[in-house]
């Protein structure tokens, strides 16, 4: 590991949080609504990650993302469990890509239930694929300044070399002379 004991690595307590233990089919089927519900926290986390290039600095934003995921799934479980389950099973069994085209009826039921209890519409097609702007109060990160090494002294110019020098200072020349 290139990390010395002096460098900062977060402790086990900081890194242990309740994780979203759901399968890929659940994520796939809940993706659009989950993304819209947690849009701001997700954008904040992804911005932090791309600006800092350091996962150690974006831990809090990541925890906020997971917490928002828990909130959303909690609400779905409380109000729309059956509809979501039906939709998820359909998506899961619809082939290797888990695509949505064969599951439009269950999707409509699920969307209606979400609209009723969470009050949010399905985002328009292509919403996530487009570039999304985000307003943040976090300051732009600045890297530590680069410290160049000391400047090496210039070599002597030809005029300096042509100056007569004291013979005693150059013992190898006195040997020749």
């Amino acid at each position: 590991m290139p990390y010395t004991n002096q460098e900062y690595l977060p402790s086990y307590e900081e890194l242990t949080v309740p994780e979203l233990e759901v399968t890929s089919a659940v994520f796939r089927s809940a993706a659009h609504h989950l993304g819209k519900y947690c849009d701001n926290v997700c954008k904040e986390f992804m911005l932090c990650r791309s600006e800092e290039n350091d996962p150690r600095k974006c831990l809090n934003e990541g925890k906020a993302v997971t917490r928002c995921g828990f909130e959303f799934f909690g609400k779905v479980k409380k109000h729309c469990y059956a509809e979501f389950n039906q939709y998820m099973q359909c998506v899961d069994h619809s082939g290797r890509l888990m695509d949505f085209k064969g599951c439009r009826k269950t999707q409509a039921t699920y969307d209606n239930c979400i609209k009723q209890y969470l009050g949010q519409d399905r985002p328009e097609l292509g919403y996530f694929s487009k570039v999304r702007l985000h307003n943040t109060s976090r300051p732009r990160p600045v890297l530590a300044p680069h410290e160049l090494p000391e400047r090496v002294p210039d070599p002597p110019s030809p005029e300096e070399l042509r100056k007569p020098t004291d013979k005693l200072k150059n013992p190898h020349l006195t040997a020749v002379i």
Binding site: Y3, L20, R28, M46, P55, V65, S129, H146
Partner: protein, 147 residues
């Protein structure tokens, strides 16, 4: 002597052998073949222009689903990999605590990377799998969750 039937040519001799070259009989003529090709291609072109839009929308929906879920995956992955770094560093401390001249994270005291600006450094594959058994290393490299 047993009775036998001699294998003789039929009465009147064999039929004459037909050795002339015969061209196969084609279903369509030349113009019809070209016409069929152009016709089918044209129909397919028109049909595709309708289907293309539907396929584009389906792919876009799948792409949306992937991007929407990315932050959750990355958050969990970041925490997991930082846990792994921590465990590797602790393991190295434990392993080399009685070795004279060894400092964790360096090569006998010399830093591994020249990092003036304190950037985040991603460890190489060798550094990540150092404390794993060969079986686990193979699984990590080839991305297997279960053997």
């Amino acid at each position: 002597m047993a009775s036998y039937k001699q294998d003789l040519p039929p009465k009147g001799g064999f039929d004459p052998i037909d050795f002339a070259a015969r061209a196969p009989k084609r279903m369509f003529g030349g113009f019809t073949q070209f016409g069929l090709f152009i016709g089918v291609t044209g129909l397919a072109w028109v049909a595709w222009s309708y289907v293309k839009e539907i396929v584009r929308k389906e792919k876009l929906e799948l792409n949306d689903a992937r991007i929407a879920v990315e932050p959750f995956i990355y958050a969990e992955k970041d925490r997991a990999i930082l846990t792994h770094y921590r465990r590797c560093r602790d393991e190295e401390n434990e392993l080399m605590k009685n070795v004279k001249g060894w400092e964790t994270g360096t090569l006998w005291g010399e830093p591994v990377y020249h990092n003036v600006r304190s950037r985040y450094i991603k460890p190489s594959l060798e550094e990540l799998v150092t404390h794993m058994s060969p079986k686990e290393q193979h699984d990590m490299i080839f991305d297997k969750l279960l053997r």
